[in-house]
Symmetry: C2
Subunit: 86 residues, 2 copies
C-alpha cells in the first residue's frame, strides 16, 4: 500500500474538521442552548459548505463530497436549532 | 482576465468558511458567553485546521495557507475564550 504523507495529513484534516461539528450538534440538540452561537457565523458557514460541496462535485472529488455532505447536514441542523430555540 | 467558474466557486467557499468564524469570535469576546459552545468541537476543529494549514504548506497553496492561517487564529481564540470563561 502506497502511503502519501501529504495526503494522509490532508485526509486527517478533512476527517477532524468534519467530525468536529458532531459534538456541537449533539450538545445543542440535548441542551437546546443556542445563546452563545453566532447566527451570522452559522449562515456564512452553511453557505460556504454548500459551495465546498458544489466544488467537490465540479472537481469530481469523492473525499470533498463525502466530508462536506456530512458537514452541510451539521451546519443545517445548527442553523435550524439556532432559529428554533432562540 | 481568465475566470474559471470552478475556481471562483472554490474561492467563494474558502472566503465564506474563513470569515464565518469572525462574527463568532466577536460575539464570544463581547458577551463572554461560551455556555453553548462545545469544547470537543473546538479542540477537534483547531487540530483539524492546524493540519489543513500544514497541508497548505506541503502543497504550496497560498490560498489554503492564507485561509487556514486566519481560521487557525479564530479557532485558537474561541478555544481560549471557552477555557477562560467556562
Amino acid at each position: 500500500m502506497n502511503i502519501d504523507v501529504n495526503e494522509a495529513i490532508g485526509f486527517g484534516a478533512a476527517v477532524l474538521t468534519t467530525i468536529a461539528f458532531l459534538p456541537q450538534v449533539y450538545k445543542t440538540w440535548k441542551t437546546k442552548d443556542v445563546s452563545s452561537l453566532s447566527l451570522p457565523m452559522l449562515i456564512l458557514f452553511f453557505i460556504g459548505i454548500v459551495l465546498w460541496l458544489v466544488y467537490g462535485f465540479l472537481k469530481n472529488s469523492p473525499s470533498m463530497i463525502f466530508a462536506n455532505a456530512i458537514t452541510v447536514i451539521s451546519a443545517l441542523l445548527l442553523l435550524y436549532f439556532k432559529m428554533k430555540y432562540k
